[in-house]
């Protein structure tokens, strides 16, 4: 019987249990951060347990670190969570990338960047966007608080194997459209729950031609389709990305030989296959309050189909029939584990080079890690943003979930490269419009969304 990439990795990690009920799965990498780790560490302490494999655990701080004035934290609770992580990681011997460290940043940016994320691994983290790491051909998913403690104590997790879904992405991505538009297009077409109960694998020519950064964006938002995990088959791009990174395997040739075997045998191995053609894909923008409420930039906002649509329109303060380009914008945010990698910043900077933000726009550019921040400063990208009038910030989750001081004010519209446009997500009353970094940068300059597939040569 043919097998999927997911099946193969799963099979090699089962320690106990029968298919169909919960199985005990080994965890190769456990990523932790300041918000979902204090109770699990406390639980270990109360039960007098050790953390089984500190060497397979890596901690950083991201969710509520400030992106300004980082060594002078005002919020006492944030500071307490960060101090607690320092104390806990010391006590249990876990490596920590703390603020100021080159390795610090958004946990899903840091894992790949350090070479910790590798094909064939099972990777977990107390955060739903752990799916990001699937871009390397790993099984990666978010877990709950008790599960974090369980992984700390045992380096394993009980899981029922999900069904598998292949999403075949055909055609060639048109100029100025990106991985973000692919995943937003898929969710707009198939909805926010079609992936529930499935592990998704993206494949097809459009996926092969994506960079690793693009594949991470794609897998990152699998969770917005209801799936816990998204993945892409590892290939030469994956291996090239990992080669030479700090935690990449020392015996790289042997690792590569192993990784090369990790592939879905054929399409019949999936429980279900969906197709999505990108030949005529347009840049996508969300108008509502979930990621499925999205439309192409050259369209008008859709008619109200049900109460959810009406509630979304009421919250967001827009009307059906209005062109996407007429959405009034106040802020742009470039950041989050979806789109804060160097490549994302580079694309945004190319659009902003030599230009200035429109007068109605305030802009926050938040790199995904300090390493990215430093590189962008060295290459002059940071200066482009500053010259354009943007605020160039320190790394962290920032306005993606607005747990730190980076909150979009009530009633204000933000063009955002993040992943969730939920009610209040980016600040109480905030109105989010998700889009690619290129679209968000162009919107910052124009003061409203523009169809960047038309603007060539301008």
């Amino acid at each position: 019987m043919s097998q999927t990439l997911f099946d193969k990795i799963w099979q090699t990690h089962v320690i106990a249990g029968e298919l169909g009920s919960a199985q005990l799965i080994y965890v190769d990498l456990h990523l932790i951060h300041e918000v979902t780790s204090p109770q699990p560490f406390d639980g270990l302490r109360q039960a007098n347990r050790r953390l089984r494999r500190p060497d397979l655990t890596f901690a950083t701080m991201d969710h509520n670190v400030p992106t300004k004035d980082i060594f002078n934290i005002q919020d006492q609770m944030s500071r307490l969570q960060m101090d607690t992580l320092v104390k806990n990681t010391q006590e249990f011997g876990v490596p920590l990338a703390s603020i100021g460290d080159d390795k610090q940043g958004i946990v899903h940016v840091v894992g790949p960047e350090r070479g910790l994320t590798q094909p064939g691994k099972v990777i977990v983290c107390g955060d739903s966007h752990t799916a990001t790491h699937g871009a390397f051909g790993a099984i990666a998913f978010g877990i709950g608080t008790s599960e974090v403690e369980h992984v700390m104590a045992t380096q394993t997790i009980w899981q029922v194997k999900p069904k598998t879904m292949g999403i075949k992405v055909t055609g060639q991505l048109p100029k100025n459209t990106y991985a973000k538009d692919i995943i937003m297009g898929i969710i707009a077409q198939y909805g926010v729950s079609f992936g529930t109960g499935y592990a998704i694998e993206f494949f097809g020519e459009a996926i092969k031609s994506l960079s690793m950064a693009g594949r991470m964006t794609l897998c990152n938002m699998s969770i917005e389709a209801g799936s816990k995990t998204g993945m892409v088959q590892p290939d030469q791009k994956t291996f090239d990305y990992l080669a030479g990174r700090e935690f990449a395997p020392k015996n790289f040739a042997a690792a590569k030989a192993y990784w090369t075997q990790l592939a879905t045998d054929d399409e019949t191995a999936f429980d279900q296959v969906l197709t999505f053609d990108v030949t005529h894909l347009k840049p996508m923008v969300t108008w509502g309050t979930n990621p499925g409420m999205a439309t192409a930039v050259d369209q008008t906002l859709p008619a109200v189909k049900d109460d959810n649509d009406q509630a979304a329109y009421d919250y967001i303060g827009l009307q059906p029939g209005m062109p996407v380009t007429a959405i009034p914008l106040d802020y742009i945010f470039i950041g989050s584990c979806t789109n804060s990698r160097y490549e994302d910043l580079e694309i945004a900077a190319q659009i902003m080079a030599g230009k200035h933000l429109a007068p109605n726009i305030q802009a926050w550019i938040v790199p995904g890690s300090r390493a990215i921040r430093n590189r962008a400063i060295a290459t002059g990208i940071a200066k482009i943003f500053e010259d354009a009038g943007c605020e160039w910030r320190e790394p962290g989750c920032s306005a993606c979930l607005a747990m730190n001081p980076d909150k979009i004010p009530a009633g204000k519209h933000v063009a955002s490269t993040s992943n969730r446009n939920f009610i209040g997500r980016q600040g109480a009353g905030s109105r989010t419009h998700l889009a690619s970094p290129a679209m968000v940068a162009a919107a910052g300059i124009a003061g409203h969304f523009v169809d960047i597939t038309l603007d060539e040569g301008e």
Binding site: Y26, Q155, A254
Partner: protein, 194 residues
């Protein structure tokens, strides 16, 4: 995890349907770094007035219910956000059993992971149990799968796996640690390239 075989305890009735995790523990209390201490904030908005003083109309503030360990409530208990803190608030307060018409899936699972016994009983049974007075006790017998009040036995169902976990006071970690040898064996043969 504390073992649960049989308990004889006072019950308190909060008959509302759809008591969600926001009601059990409002989100301003999530920024704690410990698993303990949430009990004082349980049912915060119902238990306290806007000036912070106890709401004396709320049943948990009635002195005769101070020692209650069993909560009898309505349908769809624990819906809303998946926060495990809601369960921690109930156990930290002192509850060991919640008897409801139904539970949200996530809350039910979170309860089983934290030693809070969730019992589903039909409305008619709960109607009887709601007659309980402050000086009376309920008997919850897990091996027998019964709740007993005034010599009436009310039967409830529970997954045998979870029943075992409760009876032996095992949390998921205890269960998994029985596989320690298998885990070690796995570690010795897992692919490594360093």
């Amino acid at each position: 995890m504390q073992a649960f075989v049989k308990t004889v305890g006072q019950a308190v009735v909060i008959p509302d349907d759809s008591i969600n995790t926001d009601i059990l523990l409002p989100k301003q209390f999530l920024k704690n770094i410990l698993k303990t201490g949430f009990g004082q904030h349980l049912f915060y908005d119902w238990r306290y007035l806007s000036d912070g003083a106890p709401n004396l109309d709320f049943v948990l503030n009635h002195p005769e219910h101070a020692g209650a360990t069993i909560l009898i409530t309505g349908e769809n208990f624990g819906s809303g956000s998946s926060r495990e803190h809601a369960v921690w608030a109930l156990t930290d307060y002192g509850f060991r059993v919640v008897i409801a018409g139904s539970f949200s899936d996530i809350f039910y699972m979170n309860a089983t992971k934290n030693g809070l016994l969730p019992i589903v009983l039909p409305a008619a049974d709960r109607q009887q149990l709601r007659q309980i007075g402050p000086n009376e006790s309920l008997i919850v017998d897990l091996p027998a799968q019964t709740v007993t009040y005034q010599n009436h036995h009310y039967h409830f169902d529970i997954n045998p796996q979870w029943k075992e976990k409760f009876i032996h006071g095992e949390d998921d970690i205890d269960v998994t640690l029985k596989y320690a040898d298998a885990i070690t064996a796995y570690e010795q043969q897992r692919p490594q390239f360093n």
